[in-house]
Symmetry: C2
Subunit: 252 residues, 2 copies
């Protein structure tokens, strides 16, 4: 993987009726976001679309024009509802056919005489695409232009992502620090002071992420940025502010 001094962005495109009906709970978005982020590729948008070619084509064309990369998941299996490869060919305006490299991989995997029509369908790859290796179950993903097309099954997607990332260019990594005020300190107690710190530190972004459990509300304050000194300075300001708020509560 090479690195670039520019910001490198990406979108995730999840393809599948099963996510939109809630039947399958997505496990790929969070994994791709973390893994790409650690490689200096910032996820800026996610879309989930149904298994319908016009929807896939419209989404991938909108996203690939806007971000450095697009990671898609789902719809590259052997059944009639797996239409991602055809939709990608349509989106890029290229032909699609059985790819000899993919056919060879599947033939070796399944053994002689076992390359059924369904299995062969997984060798359909848009013209001009590079294959992305699948060490779990052989049938490859692919990269066409700036779009990386991966399986939906998480164990397979994760290996494809690792392989694809080797070939991509990452930017400066986002540095993250977390300040945890602890139970009993809700974010509304910190909001005004935190907003002032955020305004005074434009080189970082500061988020407040509440959770609600048996002990009531608590929040985590997350400082993100590309420059170590700026992130460290903002973290110190946030930590000092939290201590001041706690001290004033003990006094009250």
């Amino acid at each position: 993987m090479t690195t670039s001094p520019e910001a490198v962005t990406a979108a995730i495109l999840v393809i599948g009726d099963e996510i939109l009906t809630g039947r399958t709970k997505d496990k790929n978005i969070g994994h791709i976001a973390e893994t790409a982020g650690a490689a200096g590729i910032d996820i800026r948008e996610v879309r989930v679309v149904p298994d319908e070619e016009p929807e896939i084509v419209a989404a991938v064309n909108a996203l690939r024009a806007r971000y450095t990369y697009v990671f898609s998941t789902g719809g590259i299996g052997p059944t009639h509802d797996d239409i991602t490869a055809d939709a990608m060919a349509r989106a890029f305006g290229v032909t699609i056919d059985h790819d000899p490299r993919a056919v060879a991989i599947l033939a070796a995997h399944y053994g002689e005489g076992q390359l059924t029509e369904g299995r062969l369908r997984m060798a359909r790859i848009p013209a001009g695409a590079d294959l992305v290796a699948n060490p779990v179950s052989a049938a490859p993903g692919f990269r066409i232009g700036n779009v990386i097309v991966m399986a939906g099954v998480p164990t397979i997607m994760q290996r494809m992502l690792d392989n694809a990332l080797q070939t991509l260019t990452g930017g400066a990594k986002t540095l993250t620090r977390t300040v945890s005020p602890g139970p009993g300190i809700g974010e509304s107690m910190l909001a005004a002071a935190l907003g002032a710190i955020a305004q005074a530190n434009p080189a970082v972004s500061i988020g407040s992420y509440p959770s609600f459990g048996p002990a009531g509300f608590q929040t985590q304050l997350v400082i993100r940025g590309k420059e170590e000194a700026a992130v460290a300075a903002a973290e110190a300001e946030v930590a000092a502010m939290v201590e001041r708020v706690k001290a004033s509560m003990n006094k009250a």
Copy 2:
């Protein structure tokens, strides 16, 4: 909740940097999809966008023009990074201010003299919106036009969703049947026959959802449709096909 004979569609708009960085794993998409689906509201698209007003405005305007409803989650707390209410006001071209109904709810919840600047921020509601009650932590969501704006914390979002659904119109519910061929039957063995059944049964959609575990691949075949007779007929065809494939495997 009223019902309509027309198809009722919706999108989910998840707002939050924490989802895009992978720091927080979304738990709302699957819940909304299942709950809305059970109420006859079909989720057709999901988008996740960062805590940036132009991104939120563009996404909500694209989605509200296209679907019957939009369910948004996240960004309605008390801190500086909670900008959803302001973004919704911008998207709809209306003003936003402290809403007297919301102020009264928060004043009653926190008690006299406890309505800090941060807490009061949660009473900012776009003009013309209806409130959505929050029985967990008081600060309300709201509905403006066809957009239902909810918290990001799952326990709170779930109660807001239940309350909002009471006021919406649901369509015909999608009926779902699942045929599970069991371990050892991968989807490529079923693909050709399944595709033929799908083509012969245009009133239903048929999906094949593989999973990969210690026992290798298996798949679940899911038949969905709005008409009971069509769904039952397709289910019977799929089940019979699976038995034929199993019988031919035992012979081989």
